[in-house]
Symmetry: C2
């Protein structure tokens, strides 16, 4: 005889350009375990959908849990999400995909979808800060530069669900342009892509770094951990570039603080995970010298302790609280 138990688990999924992370949560949103798969975005949007499904099924098998025991699934994606559709998630080959309906059809469980940075912010606010700050911004430096906003204790997404796109903000008119970023924008200057571009430029101009030994003159395949290794070894070129990136990030955070007046600024993402020891003090100092007196009284500028699990944590919160978008 099979005892039918109430659906008491939540699944949170974070779909990134390079990996898909799926996490199993109990009803108190304690993380029970994760499964990580490569996204393989180069195989196309349908393949990514297959891999999301596979990550979820593997996660459940691993914990001997049936899909019917999952109350809801939350999914974070790197694009603008509106009514269950994802727009402009070019990183994973999705121009306009009705992801909620597609996943719901495959898994027969309630699915809620939201922008990944919004979920990271929601996860930090709910699980790490216990909903204490009424107003908070999340600032994430990874492959790109993104953000999320909490206002009056709720995720704020704006009129077109596009709020928090801090990476588009220009802080250095006429400055560096990276990939699809805007010239002189935070995404061009202070994402990992921007950092790598700045390092390559410095090397082209005759600079030298220990990373050339491992990665070659083109610095092919630089990851955040390479940057951390070079910083730890006090590599002068990498230190100079990372400090400059921290200053630019500080100008961006200052602009965000002047505009929003948040109680908390929480920073995360691969670049911050790896380099916060160097970057955070410079960010704080730059913010202090670029806002009006009084603006920072009692304001916290900190890094998230959730690390890589921030995205799936927020996805689990979304799944539980049912703010299905």
């Amino acid at each position: 005889m099979v005892v039918q138990r109430a659906a008491q688990y939540f699944v949170g999924v974070d779909v990134g350009g390079t990996k898909i992370l799926a996490g199993l949560f109990n009803r108190s949103l304690k993380l029970l375990g994760t499964v990580k798969l490569k996204t393989k975005a180069n195989r196309g949007g349908d393949a990514v959908l297959d891999r999301i499904e596979r990550a979820i099924r593997e996660l459940l098998t691993e914990h001997s849990i049936r899909l019917t025991q999952v109350r809801a699934i939350g999914v974070g994606v790197p694009g603008i999400v509106h009514q269950g559709r994802v727009f402009g998630a070019t990183n994973i080959g999705w121009e306009d995909v009705p992801i909620r309906a597609l996943l719901n059809r495959r898994l027969r469980r309630p699915v809620a979808v939201e922008n990944d940075c919004n979920l990271f912010t929601l996860g930090i606010h709910t699980l790490e800060l216990k909903r204490k700050p009424r107003t908070m911004v999340g600032v994430f430096l990874g492959t790109g530069f993104g953000g999320g906003i909490i206002i009056n204790n709720k995720l704020y997404t704006g009129f077109n669900r596009s709020a928090g796109e801090f990476g588009q903000m220009v802080i250095s008119k006429g400055g560096l342009k990276t990939g699809t970023g805007i010239r002189g924008s935070l995404e061009s200057l202070a994402s990992r892509t921007g950092i790598v571009r700045r390092l390559r430029k410095a090397v082209l101009e005759g600079g030298e770094t220990m990373l050339q030994e491992e990665l070659g003159a083109q610095l092919k395949g630089v990851r955040s951990r390479h940057l951390r290794q070079a910083i730890t070894a006090r590599d002068p070129l990498v230190r100079r570039v990372v400090r400059s990136v921290a200053e630019d990030t500080g100008l961006g955070v200052a602009a965000i603080v002047s505009a929003f007046g948040p109680e908390y600024v929480v920073m995360g993402g691969g670049v911050i995970e790896a380099l916060h020891g160097t970057m955070l003090p410079i960010v704080r100092k730059t913010v202090e010298s670029h806002v009006l007196p009084g603006t920072l009284d009692g304001v916290q500028i900190v890094t998230s302790a959730l690390g890589d699990d921030g995205g799936i944590s927020g996805a689990a919160v979304l799944a539980r609280d049912g703010v299905a978008k």
Copy 2:
């Protein structure tokens, strides 16, 4: 016999660096008349308080209305307002002034105080847009560069009541610095002070403008109307500077739009009043090329029709709705 009528009027006051404008409103918030006095900030903070009182008393005398017929008075000031105190209103000589208590003692009517740009935004949102947009930002270019924010149909002021200080946002790292502004910030680049500085610099570098005939080589006392006259006369130097200022303003508005995702951006202030014909198309075009696809769908970027009366209108709304701060 004196018939005692219910207090049915509201007074809105806008205290600026150069002038104090006081407006009388009926209970439907129709503007019945105004009185304008010079601020004479150079005489010190107490003198400014005297002149606010005088403006209100003159306004009431003009309309044969007694103070007891005034239900409440709203006051906008160029500083950060917290619990009836004004901080950092250096323009008018107020470092820390308990303006609500002081005016209440002088006039014996309920007084509500708020930042001037916040009130301008509130006035536009309530009286001009009839509270239609849930999310709106006001962007004001005058002597300085300020802003205000409506979120979920309410004035949003952030954790330290400092939200909306858009003038602090750096868009051109290492760029021009004006007065107390931050180098390369919107206030340094795109306020009237910034425009004048840019014109003077161009003249120093050998440029010529018709404004030199009237104002001398130092361009002493440039007002927004001088700039408009020069634009109308197709003065090449002024056109070039104003266009460049409009581009910078556009970069700022683009950053604000990417961050907040508002439904409406409403622009106002002396510079915009005088130059919107030249500036607004350039601002719009610059915003379009600096935000993600979809961000601007259905978004309005417009100028306010309230003009100089925006501040007192918002002050009257504050007086009526009693959001006394």
